[in-house]
Symmetry: C2
Subunit: 453 residues, 2 copies
């Protein structure tokens, strides 16, 4: 339903653009939320987007639109906009969003925009840009409420009312005379305590905070775990310097999940669905190279068993099912472990119990499907002299392929995590490819031995 609404919106915009109905377009623009416009923008041509953008009269709406646009549309649109106008828009943007978006632009353009912006705004944005990518510092906003620990409740409420440009006072942070974060209290507490009691007498002191260089994924995990609306960010001297709000955390969680999914599929986390065929090809080409090398290895392994194949041609017919069963259970195991690590359900300390369980499941499922396939082999080649040996080889090959796959699939991501390498990157192509090689090798070894070639 949501999707349909955006298409209807895009269609009306296109119709009005064709008719040049500027007044009606401005009317639509003023009534539509920028987040909805960003979806409709996808359906428009490059020149229509610029026309629409220039018709917008509210820099705040323009700034939200820019931060909601997909990256490639954003990169195409911004250089077309008048420099004075774009600087005004960035001044109206939340500092963390401005820092992130400017980071995506060419350095030349982003410097030019910062130059044009009011000094107070550009300094704040440049300050955020100085923190490393993916850190709490780069996504924090300075719009928090901090009140001195000696202040009474009544004065605190007065201070709050004069501070109403902070959209929503999530939490009231309490700092000491050096600006160090010492506590937190709620609006509710301020209302119920005696008006003169200093905050330090009833504030909560077991406060959870993050550092400016804390990884954004860890920040998201903390906000999600404690159901916070925001988490305070402190510097090395424990001075309160910003907060990370829950709306940014939602974006982080969704982006990290998408990144993990794309990495596991061997696409690379930066793949964007809407880019050109050429860029899509270039990004995906190297990820398939592992699979190509694995295929080559399997080719040479099978080539080494040419004699066996010449004697028993039908050995070849079982290659797909043995590879397929191993590949699929390997994907199951590695996905379960990678996602378990990401959600915190699986702990690196439990490495042997996790791998042991996966291996046990692999062996059991290998026995089940090995038996199935062995029976099929026995029935199909009933009249052949060595049909029982063949059935037994195939059965053993499935068991070993599925056991090895479950072992490799669960062990590899855990070892990568231990070595501080992203387990999601490791998992997709690496696991599938190594399982393919091992499966094929085991199969031909077992068959050659049992058939007495």
């Amino acid at each position: 339903m949501q999707k349909d609404r955006n298409i209807i919106l895009a269609d009306s915009i296109k119709r009005l653009l064709r008719r040049g109905a500027t007044r009606s377009l401005q009317n639509i623009l003023s009534k539509t939320h920028a987040a909805d416009l960003s979806l409709a923008f996808r359906e428009l041509s490059k020149s229509s987007r610029l026309t629409m953008f220039n018709l917008m009269s509210d820099p705040e709406q323009q700034s939200i639109l820019l931060s909601e646009l997909e990256e490639n549309i954003f990169l195409e649109l911004v250089p077309e906009i008048n420099l004075d106008e774009i600087a005004t828009i960035f001044e109206n943007m939340a500092a963390d969003d401005a820092a992130e978006l400017l980071g995506h632009l060419d350095e030349e353009l982003s410097d030019a925009i910062l130059e044009k912006m009011k000094n107070e705004d550009s300094l704040e944005v440049e300050h955020l840009m100085s923190y490393g990518e993916d850190t709490a510092g780069s996504i924090m906003v300075p719009n928090f409420i901090a009140i001195k620990e000696d202040m009474g409740a009544k004065d605190a409420i007065a201070a709050l009312q004069s501070n109403m440009d902070v959209e929503m006072p999530f939490y009231i942070y309490v700092v000491n005379e050096y600006g160090k974060l010492v506590g937190v209290c709620s609006l509710r507490q301020l209302v119920v305590v005696p008006p003169e009691t200093p905050l330090k007498e009833y504030m909560a002191t077991d406060i959870v905070s993050v550092n400016t260089y804390t990884d954004r994924e860890e920040v998201a995990e903390i906000v999600a775990r404690y159901d916070f609306l925001a988490v305070p960010v402190v510097d090395d001297d424990h001075r309160l310097v910003g907060i990370v709000t829950v709306d940014d955390v939602i974006d982080i969680i969704s982006e990290e999940a998408t990144g993990d999914i794309l990495k596991m599929a061997g696409v690379g986390e930066d793949y964007i669905e809407t880019q050109t065929i050429f860029r899509g090809t270039r990004i995906r080409l190297p990820w398939l190279f592992t699979s190509f090398l694995g295929g080559l290895a399997a080719f040479f392994i099978i080539g080494g068993f040419e004699e066996s194949l010449e004697k028993y041609t039908y050995l070849a017919a079982f290659i797909p099912v043995i590879m397929g069963m191993g590949g699929n259970i390997g994907t199951q195991s590695s996905t379960i472990v990678v996602r378990g690590i990401a959600t915190g359900r699986i702990n690196i300390r439990d490495i042997w119990s996790v791998v042991g369980k996966e291996l046990a499941i692999g062996v059991i499922l290998g026995l089940v499907y090995g038996l199935f396939i062995g029976v099929v082999a026995k029935i199909r080649f009933f009249s052949e002299p060595l049909s029982l040996q063949l059935a037994f080889s195939v059965c053993l090959a499935v068991i070993s392929s599925m056991s090895v796959a479950a072992l490799v699939g669960s062990l590899v991501p855990l070892l990568f995590e231990k070595a501080n390498i992203d387990p999601a990157v490791a998992t997709g192509p690496f696991v599938t490819t190594s399982v393919d090689i091992v499966s094929v090798y085991c199969y031909f070894m077992i068959a050659t031995l049992l058939l007495g070639i």
Copy 2:
């Protein structure tokens, strides 16, 4: 770092439990957030968990712990707790969490608990349980602030202060005399407007709301898109009946992502990493059956080309690389499309442009890797009489396999989405298996034709 903290916590608890140091345990419990305890609980034995739970003295902390526990630990723990105590804990729980948790229990136990609870609490919970699973109704909470449209700002602030059991007044909703939602205003507005002005004169009226039966995924999408802290839920008469808050939305987004990942890996979305080997095996067994059937199909296809294989044994050696390249690009395409649909970046209306682009990428990558593999084949079998035809067959097979895989991988999830079937379920095993079958068939057809067998 977060993970290490929980392990240290679990280790201290274990040590104190062994020593029977009740006082120290109670001290730890009172100082630790229930969300952290839930992580430490994972590391404890069944009986230690019960001991710890009974040592907790605060029903509110107990209620948060229960709602944070993993489902299987929760299901094991609850029947062991005294019924009166568990009823008190559920009375202290947010109504939406209570409804969700009771829904996981046996009907008999959940009825017994509801029976023991205070009437006002159990009615509220039963009301929520009456809404369908995964709807906005089942996850909403009744703790919202609604003020009549005729009220002045001053009276509204007074009403707010007397209503401070609502933890954080995210938004102030405005209703008419029939309880219908007509607008929303912010705390900031209340403070700055003249004290007697009725709310309806300055409230925002373009309010986004959801219905009680709106799917929770759509609710999450709306909250994420507009950066809301909560979204109002209305019934069929547009009466305000609850709100869904951002902390629940975070859980939904994370759960949906995990569900999609597990479905795509062919595990089933309900797989939990911590369950027993037996249950793990039972859940994963049927998902591998597609792959088994696909393997059997490939077996009979290759069997049909026995004559070709007898003449050119080395044809078998190329099976893995042809299947592998097809399988991997198919996974890339289907993952990109499934995730694109989930995040709203890919629209079902653009089906032909998406599939066309994937097909183009598949053909280009097929040409690249087909050429590589063809060259390898030519070099390896240089002295054979038909080495050029062989190289050409292998090259064509890789091209067709990769093109078909990109086509199937992108088309299938879009068609499933169009037919209202979850594309993530469809994608994993279905795409891989059908790609395997088509790849093998094309390969042997092409080789048989070109080698003139």
